[in-house]
Structures are given as C-alpha cells and as structure tokens.
C-alpha cells in the first residue's frame, strides 16, 4: 500500500512519486487516525529517508532523500493535526473551504476586500454583545480606565466560547466517523454521500474557525 520510498532489499532512497499525504504513509484517507502509530511510522521513515543518513550516498540519491524527507515532514505535519488533516482531506475532495479558512482570509487580505463574515445564527446575539464589550475594553485601555466588571464579563464570554469550541471538535469527530464509514464501504459509497458528509465537515470547520478567531481577538484585547 505504501509508496516505495526506499528499496526494500538495499535500503537506498528512491525518487519520490507524486502521492497524497495519506498514501505516503500507506494509509487510506480516513479521518480517525491513530496519531501514536503515525508518529511511529514517521520515525521509522525518517530513519530511512533523512538527508543526514544519506549524506554519503550519490548526489542523485541525496537529492531524492531531500525531496522524500521534505514530503514526509509535510505529510506528518498535516496529518497529525486534526484540523489540518480534515482541511487537507477536503482539499483532496476538491471542496473549497469558505469564509473562515486560511486561504479565504488570505485572499481577502490580498484583494483588500473586507472578509465576508458569516456569523453562525446561534451565536448572533452572543457575538454582538461580546463585540460591544471588546470595543468598550479598548476604549477603556485608551483612556487608562480599569473596569473589573467588564473584564470579568469578557472572561465569562471567553469561557463560553471555549466550551463551544470543544463541542465543535466533538461534533467534528462524529462526522469523521461518518466519513470513515464511507471510505470503509469503498466504491459502494455514492458521490452524493461523500458530498453530503464533506459538506457537513466544511460547515463544522467554518464554525470552529469562526470561534477560534473570536477567542484570539478576545485574548489579544485582554492581554494588551
């Protein structure tokens, strides 16, 4: 299953074959992933592919070792992180992440447009109030005022957001299971099913990214 990164009999590094990150590790594109096993696999492959251990090989092999090992590191970095892993899978599926994704944020920044903010409906009220509080806090900072009650209020809102963030991660995992079920079914799984589940994943990721950005804003405002 795993691509032949090195020769099984002589151990020499082979030229990289263009594969996705899952295949690089010889894994099916499942989202529930044994991170400890992935790490073990990463260490094993590093011991074969890393340039330090191929420093005395020919220049061609050294070049392959550099490419293979960068691919290995890129793949490991992406797959071990639950969010990056999900985003990567959606990218493989050809699904574009929306408003809150990194690429969308950068695109908005690059074109100088204001990023479209779609506030999840259940959060509308909370976010509205939080933004008012944050604005007030910034004003206070400017004037040199201190309002402990306000600070406490924002702290509470932050805790609530963090709880929501946790809940979303759990929700994400339920869709992982759905997705993995489709993968396990193999070719039987219909395109419609795949699209339905990937749509759910995108939705959770967007909401999660929105909340994460909010928490970041709150932290920044409280630290300053």
């Amino acid at each position: 299953m795993r691509a032949a990164h090195f020769c099984e009999s002589c151990g020499k590094v082979q030229p990289p074959v263009p594969v996705d990150y899952f295949s690089f590790f010889g894994l099916p594109p499942r989202l529930s992933l044994d991170v400890a096993a992935l790490e073990k696999s990463f260490y094993e492959l590093s011991r074969k592919l890393h340039p330090d251990l191929n420093a005395r090989a020919g220049s061609q092999e050294q070049e392959w070792s550099l490419e293979q090992s960068s691919l290995l590191n890129d793949a490991y970095r992406t797959l071990r992180d639950p969010i990056k892993r999900t985003e990567y899978l959606l990218h493989l599926e050809g699904v574009l992440l929306e408003e809150q994704s990194k690429s969308a944020t950068e695109q908005a920044r690059a074109t100088g447009e204001l990023k479209k903010q779609i506030v999840p409906p259940d959060l509308l009220e909370e976010v509205f109030e939080l933004n008012l509080h944050l604005e007030e806090l910034r004003m206070n900072k400017k004037m040199g005022d201190d309002d402990p009650a306000l600070f406490e209020e924002i702290g509470k809102a932050k805790l609530s957001l963090e709880a929501k963030h946790e809940a979303l991660l759990r929700e994400l995992q339920t869709y992982w299971k759905e997705w993995d079920g489709l993968i396990d079914r193999g070719p039987d799984a219909s395109t419609t099913d795949r699209q339905r589940v990937s749509g759910k994943l995108v939705d959770v990721l967007n909401r999660r990214n929105y909340i994460r950005n909010l928490v970041r804003d709150v932290n920044a405002a409280m630290e300053n």
Partner: protein, 633 residues
C-alpha cells in the same frame, strides 16, 4: 574512515572551537597554544598578515583599528539593520560601502566581508585539526544559532567555503548541545536547551525518543548575549569617567578596549565572588576605581537577562507544553555561568538545570557527534537522528504588502511548500516574487530573503499560465526555489537576488584569494618557526662552547662548526625558510659529536632539545564594576 574526516566546528561570537569524534567520545582539538578555545578575534599584523585568536586579542588594545571581534553579529546582515550594533561595537565599515552591498569591515587599510573574517577563524581551526590528524581536513559540520535566518546561515556556509571547507551540515547550536548530552544517557523525554552565549540567545525544546532528537519548538534572539552585558558595563564606566574626570574616552579606541577587557574580567569574577574591584589605568596616569557587588551587578544585568524570558515562554507555548511537562533543562553558552541566569532558568522551568558538560565546549562536542552521524555513524551514535525545525516562518509578499506564510515556524526540516502563480497582463513573461522570513503580518516588518524573477513564461493571455513554484527548506535551514510553467511544462528560469549575501561568483573569488593568502601564510609561518629553531640551536651551541666537551673536539671539527654557524646566521637573515632549515640540519649534523660528548660528560644541554619557547597568552580573571560612585586616583 580516514578519507571521511569530518570535524565539528562551533563558530562562536566570542570563542570558536573544533572537535572530533575520537572513537566513541567527542573531543575538542586544541590550538597550537594548547588551548581549546580560540577567541573569535581577527587582526592584521604589521605585515598585513591575519592573526587569529589570543594573538589577535592583544591587537584589540594596541592597534584596535587593525582588529575585529564579535563578527558573528554582522553575518548575513545589511547596513540598515546594524545601526544599533555600530553604536556599541567598534566595527569600522568600509568608507566606499554602497547601499545594498554586502558589508565590508576595515582592518588597517584592507577591507573584509564578515564571511571572509569568519573564514579566517575557520581556517585557523582547520589548521589545528590538520595538525591534530597530520593530514588535510576538508569537511565540516558548523553550528549556528537556532534562531539564525536564511541569510545568516548562508553567510556561515559561505565562510566555510572560503576557508576551504565543505560544509556538510549547519546544525543549530542548542540541538548540537542536546546531542552531546544525549550521547551518554540515552533516555526519552522532553528536554529544554537554554543557550546564552556571547552574542546570541536560543531556546530549543526537544523530544527525545529512542535516539531521535526531535525539536518541537525553538525561539531566540540573535542579538542577545554576554556582549550586551559587557557593553552595559563599558557604558557605565565611560559615563563615570566623563562625568567625574571630564575625559570623553568614547572615541579613544585603545582606552575603550582596555575598559572592555577589565569589565569582562570583572563580569567573570562576579560569577564566583561576592564583589570585585575595578582598577583601570586611564590616559594621563589616572585610575578609574570602583567596587561592584554581586547584588549591584545583578540589578544591572536584570534587563538583559529578562529578554530571554519572552522567547522561552513563546517556545513553550508553541510546543504546547507547561514547565512541569519538561523533564530536563540543559544550560549552554558561557553566559549561563552567571548565577542570576541560572536562577532565572530555574524559575522559568521549575527545575534545577543540568550543567555537567562545559557550557563553552558542549556545542562543539555536539557538532562532532553530528559529523560522526553524517560520516556513517559509529557504535556511540547508532540510531541517533536529529530532526530540527525552521525557526522562522517563510512567507511571500502578496498584494497590499501582506505576508502570506507558506511554511510556518517550527516546521520540521526539510520542509516544502508549493505555490501557483499566474500573469496579470496578456503576453506577460515575467513574474516577480518576494520571499520573506518572519512572523509579522506585513512584508515590510519581515526579513527580506530574496527577490525572484520568474522569467521565460511563454506569452499567453492573462491568467492562463500556471507557474508552479516550489519552496524547499533543506536540513541546513536554507531555502531553495524551483519553478515550472505547468501548461507548457517549461522550467521557468529563476533569477535570485539575495537581499543580503554574497553571490556565488563573489564566494569563488574569495576562495581563490584565501588560497593565495594561504600560501603566503604558510611561508610566513615556516619562516617564523625556522628562525625560532635557529635561535634555539645557536643558544645551545654557545652553551656547548663553554662546556668541557668543547675542548675534546679537534681543531678541524671546531673550524667546521664555526663555518656552519656562520652560514646559518647568514641565511637566517634572508627570507628563505628552506635554506634556513638546511643550514640548521647541517649544523645539527656537524655538532653531533659535540652533543654526544656533552651527554657522555653528563653536561646535558638542549642541543637536541625542541623549541619550548611557547608563550602562554591566556589571562586569568582579575578585576571590577559600577553602581556607587567611582573613585579616581
């Protein structure tokens, strides 16, 4: 194995060292003065010949305009980002320096780029190693601060090339230290390496797992170290002297260097003594006297050492670890001898740091370990593998002057990222790319690495070409870029304009220069050594003439010796070291019977002895510091 003699080099701000794996143990190779540490000081002697190390340290005080120290601070930097440095260090930039040109430093009436000066230090270490092995050394692993950026790394690699060394790997200093520590106690766990040296600070957090040394996060400040403490003390002394004596010594390079030497000695002494007395001789037979207590000193340096706190916290945050989760802390770098620094580390990581290995040597020892791994490994390094990270995010400038990060900091290296570019105008054949390094949002706040021009894109309608650009950071932490136009499959040509740094052609030119110099150096050294031997043998001969054995020689023998003596004195005044050696050999032969007779008569002498005329230029810690009012005599 003899053909693959790879040495490990710690090219430090204050001191440099070369080490080698002897059997299963890394050892430091001493210099010709017998000392392990080579001060990173370069000077030109009266004949414009470079002098390196302890010998050059004297020039710092006697002929400061012909000497330079802490050159590492200027590696890979441009003239606009060293303004702070110039205020604090006596770097004399070349008068004719053009904007955008690689820095050049004036020594006497010559100018040198920072990589060339570093190359002189490296070449000295190379020589020490060659003497140690009795054969050529051409391959090395060189350490760099973990927080060095691409330009600083490239400059270090260039220095190696100029010195005639193939740099097989640049290793991060804290990581190297962890290799040295990990050698004898192969255990698993989380280790933090706190490395405060002469000019740089690094913090690295590693996960040790069955011989794999995986860096999880690194942070630092490439302009923070013992130098900063020295400068603080120098400033105080200069202020005192100006205020109380009305003498402004700030422009008096000799005096500043004398003060610098005194405060460094004081700093060192204060790590082991409760107080120290500073007594500096000033021009006009005056003395600057001051007692500094440990307490005053610690208050004074607190702001400097506090600057290490931010990077440590950031590294822990990036590693997603709390202090309690770190199993061991290792101290590296001479400045970690300061008790206050140790206390700070203990407070930050909630545990007593390890100091079993000499903090000055541990990085070089680790470099030797890595050299051994690259050379194929041995029993001691079996299963050891270093997985390091890039300390800074790599980005490209996008519309609006914003940085788009494509490889995040703390990514394991080698690491890569692929970006796609297209054209904005019909028939456009070039695309400009600006590569940056740093964490800030705006391109102008990040470090400019290089500007690339993608050329030779086939003319097509706007937006149709699809140029794939691959950015790859290699295991040295150095960036490589390649590009391909996908629709035509044509390799796009990349023209690199490094924002700071030497071009390949410049480096090639410098390699030749250094080879020319190497021959001249070699000749000079041989001449000096030959003349020293002349002195030794002539002195011994004088002794012999006064001994009882002399009388036992025949008149003919005496005549023969006198003739040879005369010819040795004659060639000794010339420049030909080979002729001098021949004359010495002749005299040696001619006095063989005299020597035997002297031995027989138990009138032993040094006729056959070796030249023991070694001068120890080491200096012990002595004096002083500031705070209360100074005294003057």
């Amino acid at each position: 194995m003899a053909t693959d003699r790879i040495v490990g080099i710690d090219l430090g701000t204050t001191n440099s060292l070369v080490a080698f794996m002897q059997g299963e143990t890394p050892v430091v190779i001493p210099g010709d003065d017998g000392l392990n540490l080579l001060p990173s000081v370069v000077a030109l002697d009266a004949n414009n010949q470079p002098v390196i190390g302890n010998a050059a340290r004297n020039s710092l005080i006697e002929t400061p305009e012909r000497a330079v120290y802490s050159i590492k601070r200027l590696m890979g930097r441009g003239s606009e980002d060293i303004q702070e440095e110039l205020k604090l260090f006596p770097f004399r930039l070349a008068d004719d320096l053009q904007a955008g040109e690689v820095l050049r430093i004036t020594l006497g009436d010559k100018t040198f780029t920072p990589p060339e000066i570093s190359a002189l230090i490296l070449r000295q270490l190379k020589r020490s190693a060659e003497r140690f092995f009795g054969g050529p050394v051409t391959k090395a692993v060189i350490t760099v601060p973990a927080y060095f950026n691409d330009a600083q790394r490239q400059a270090t690699k260039d220095a190696g090339r100029i010195a005639g060394l193939e740099v097989l790997r640049l290793v991060n200093e804290p990581t190297a230290a962890s290799l040295a520590y990990g050698l004898d106690k192969k255990r698993n766990g989380i280790v933090a390496v706190y490395d405060l040296g002469g000019g740089t600070f690094d913090i690295s957090i590693l996960k040790l797992h069955d011989g794999i040394f995986e860096v999880i996060a690194t942070n630092g400040d490439t302009h923070l170290g013992g130098d900063d403490i020295d400068n603080l003390l120098i400033t105080i002394a200069l202020d005192d002297i100006r205020g109380d004596l009305g003498i402004d010594l700030r422009r008096n390079a000799e005096a500043v260097q004398a003060i610098r030497k005194a405060v460094i000695d004081a700093k060192i002494a204060l790590s082991s003594q409760p107080s120290v007395k500073l007594d500096i001789e000033l021009p006009g037979n005056k003395h600057y006297l001051r007692e500094i207590t440990r307490n005053q000193y610690e208050q004074l340096i607190q702001p400097v050492i506090d600057r290490t706190v931010g990077p440590c916290k950031q590294a822990m945050k990036d590693a997603n670890l709390k202090p309690e989760q770190i199993d061991e802390v290792v101290l590296v770098g001479g400045s970690t001898r300061i008790p206050k620094v140790r206390a700070l580390v203990k407070e930050l990581f909630h545990r007593e740091p390890h100091t079993d290995l000499n903090p000055d040597e541990v990085v070089a020892l680790g470099a030797a370990v890595q050299a051994n791994i690259l050379g194929g490994g041995s029993e001691a390094t079996e299963n050891m593998l270093l997985l390091d990270v890039t300390p800074l995010s790599l980005g490209i400038e996008v519309a609006g002057g914003v940085t788009d990060k494509i490889i995040l900091r703390n990514s394991t290296i080698p690491a890569s990222a692929t970006q796609f570019y297209t054209t904005q105008i019909d028939g456009q054949t070039n695309v400009a790319i600006h590569v940056l390094q740093g964490e800030r949002e705006l391109a102008k706040d990040c470090r400019s690495l290089a500007r690339f021009d993608l050329k030779g894109i086939p003319p097509m309608a706007a937006g149709i070409p699809r140029v794939e650009v691959k950015f790859l950071i290699d295991a040295n932490g150095i960036l490589h870029v390649s590009a391909r136009e996908q629709r035509s499959g044509k390799e796009a040509e990349i023209q690199v304009q490094p924002s700071y740094g030497l071009t390949d052609e410049q480096v090639e030119g410098m390699i030749l220069d250094s080879f020319d110099n190497a021959e001249e150096d070699f000749r000079q050294r041989q001449l000096i050594e030959a003349r020293a031997e002349t002195t030794t043998i002539l002195t011994a001969l004088e002794k012999g003439k006064k001994s009882a054995a002399w009388g036992a020689l025949t008149t003919d023998e005496k005549k023969q010796i006198a003739k040879m003596e005369k010819s040795l004195v004659a060639v000794n005044a010339e420049q030909d070291y080979q002729a001098i050696r021949k004359a010495i050999d002749a005299l040696n032969q001619g006095t063989m019977r005299l020597a035997e007779l002297m031995m027989d008569t138990a009138v032993s002498s040094a006729l056959k002895g070796k030249n023991m005329d070694e001068t120890d230029l080491g200096e012990g810690p002595t004096a002083p510091h500031p705070m209360a009012k100074a005294e003057f005599e």
